[in-house]
């Protein structure tokens, strides 16, 4: 594995992605939503900061998701469909380096996108805090620019890294449209995987229990990365929880990227 090659592939992915119109429009839209949330805050007595915190994190999550899915599936399946990968494969690059470099490039793109959104979000919150009187600020559960909210942002990034790995995995063998559908389906199902655990209580000892239990362990638990409510309401998120969520995400990511490398390394590019 050549690290310099990975870096070059990752940088090319980053450069291509940031010039793509999708992230521009999504980031623009995210900023628009944050602006709108500020306006809503103006007409919502006392709850404006909380609303902006909520909407900001939700917007980061949703728009990050769309960037991760639509650029993520393009990493391999669109390259195969357009055959742009042919020239690349003929260069002195291992197929595994291609997959890992592309994954790293999109993770970097997402990280930069989320960083920009976070900066804008904190600026809006800072501005609001600056506009309020000290007496009014006393009624807030936490300061507007509470740095503890970065924990939620961090876990959003981990979740998006997982989504990219899912998109990458599906794009190594599925058409772009199907890869997008499968990734979004897994993301949505992953938010309800905890319900599968409760379902086994409902179904008792029937064979369905094995299926639901199997699905529970197979599907990534996306809800694990969602601590938005806690940080908005100034509830502490224990470092141990963040550590476990990170390790859980890392395990899934490693498994999915390894599977993507395995499939990509063996497939024919017809």
């Amino acid at each position: 594995m050549n690290v310099a090659t990975l870096r070059r592939i990752a940088f090319a992915v980053f450069r291509e992605s940031v010039r793509d119109r999708v992230p521009y429009s999504l980031v623009g839209f995210a900023l628009l939503v944050m602006g709108a949330s500020y306006l809503i805050g103006q007409v919502t007595a006392g709850q404006d900061v909380k609303i902006i915190k909520d909407l900001g994190l939700a917007a980061m999550s949703i728009f990050g998701l769309f960037i991760a899915v639509f650029i993520g599936i393009g990493l391999v399946s669109k390259e195969l469909e357009r055959r742009s990968i042919y020239s690349l494969i003929a260069k002195p690059v291992r197929r595994s380096e291609l997959i890992l470099g592309k994954y790293a490039g999109l993770v970097f793109t997402i990280a930069v996108n989320v960083a920009v959104m976070t900066a804008v979000w904190y600026l809006v919150l800072g501005y609001m805090s600056w506009m309020e009187t000290e007496a009014f600020k006393q009624s807030w559960e936490a300061p507007a620019t509470d740095p503890r909210m970065l924990v939620a942002v961090y876990l959003i990034v981990i979740q998006l890294m997982l989504v990219i790995a899912i998109a990458l995995f599906f794009s190594t063998f599925a058409e772009p449209l199907w890869a997008a559908v499968f990734t979004l389906a897994l993301y949505v199902a992953g938010h309800f995987s905890a319900d599968l655990k409760h379902f086994e209580v409902v179904v008792g000892d029937s064979p369905l229990r094995f299926i639901t239990t199997g699905l529970y362990y197979l599907l990534p638990n996306m809800a694990m990365f969602d601590v938005k409510n806690a940080v908005v309401h100034a509830q502490p998120v224990p470092p141990a929880y963040v550590g476990v969520a990170t390790a859980y995400g890392a395990c899934y990511i490693v498994a999915l990227v390894a599977a993507a490398v395995w499939i990509f390394g063996r497939r024919d590019f017809k």
């Binding site: 291509e16 010039r19 024919d268």
Partner: protein, 318 residues
């Protein structure tokens, strides 16, 4: 010296059909060798197995059986890839990158220093006639311009062996002339060139040897002059100002005369007849000579014969 490119019984089957996949042989036991420094034409009708062969050599697909080697090493060896270039059929690159960025990126994958990458990209873009458009994003390029970028990226590492899949595709006559000149320049440098095409005039003007594939099988391989052009099967003479009285007598002598335009006539002399006495006779009657050309068996005729002999122009189901 070992062959630059070698295949031995190279075979590729694909699975076709969704519900009941069945094998389909795209390439059937291809064995050939290309010597270093050759311009080797790989010809065949659409669907003959040309692109499959190139994909096998680039390890874009894996063989069902048989083996292939480039520069004496198995295909896919990273050291081999450092020494080869590849232009895929109808290449496509990244829409939002400029030609200069794409070439610099590809050069960087060979491990060249950044300044060297930029220098190589600039030199090659000038060479393929895109120097002025180097900072334009590729989504603004025409098909012919993309083809030129494709050719440039295939040359980014000064390859010892270059594989060109339909290199003239999408090019206008000027572009085709430029690519022909580029191929001849590479040949003079000692580069081995393997190019697939279904445009026979390109092969005729460039190749030292050709292979013809049809139905996934090798129909023939050999030197161009052995296949076509050795035997003269007549002469074509173009003259003007030929008297009508003389024209009337030619048919009885087995000479076919065809009126071209503006008083010009083409005469076809049968094999064995010499053109000099005929030209002298017509010149004495006041006609003027415009051209004399020998009639050879063309590569096209060889191609049609070989494809017909192969039985089918399409690869078959197993």
């Amino acid at each position: 010296m070992s062959a630059a490119i070698e295949t031995d019984e190279l075979t590729k089957d694909y699975k076709v059909g969704f519900w009941r996949p069945r094998p389909y042989r795209a390439l059937d036991r291809l064995t050939l060798a290309v010597e270093p420094g050759e311009v080797f034409g790989f010809l065949g009708p659409n669907g003959a197995g040309k692109t499959t062969t190139l994909k096998l050599l680039m390890q874009l697909v894996f063989p069902t059986s048989g083996r292939a080697a480039i520069l004496g090493q198995p295909v896919g060896d990273l050291e081999v890839r450092r020494r080869i270039g590849y232009l895929p059929e109808n290449p496509y690159f990244y829409d939002n990158l400029t030609a200069e960025e794409v070439l610099t990126y590809f050069a960087s994958l060979f491990g060249y220093a950044p300044a060297d990458c930029r220098a190589r990209a600039g030199r090659l873009l000038d060479e393929v006639g895109l120097g002025a458009e180097r900072r334009l994003q590729l989504r603004k390029y025409s098909k012919g311009m993309i083809q030129r970028v494709g050719i440039a990226q295939a040359l980014i590492n000064d390859p010892d062996v270059i594989f060109l899949d339909e290199p003239m595709s999408g090019l206008d006559p000027l572009g085709r002339r430029d690519v022909r000149a580029l191929i001849l320049k590479l040949r003079d440098r000692g580069t081995t060139i393997f190019f697939s095409s279904h445009i026979l005039s390109d092969a005729e003007s460039l190749c030292s040897r050709v292979a013809i594939v049809a139905g996934g099988r090798l129909a023939t391989v050999g030197r161009l002059q052995d296949m076509a052009g050795v035997e003269i099967r007549g002469w074509e003479i173009v003259m003007t100002g030929v008297p009508a009285s003389l024209l009337a007598t030619l048919d009885n002598r087995g000479i076919r005369a065809t009126s071209v335009a503006e008083g010009r006539y083409t005469f076809e002399l049968p094999a064995g007849a010499r053109p000099e006495p005929f030209v002298a006779e017509l010149s004495a009657s006041g006609a003027a000579l415009l051209s004399v050309s020998p009639l050879h068996t063309t590569l096209e005729e060889v191609f049609v014969q070989q494809v017909a002999k192969a039985g089918s122009a399409r690869p078959g189901a197993l």
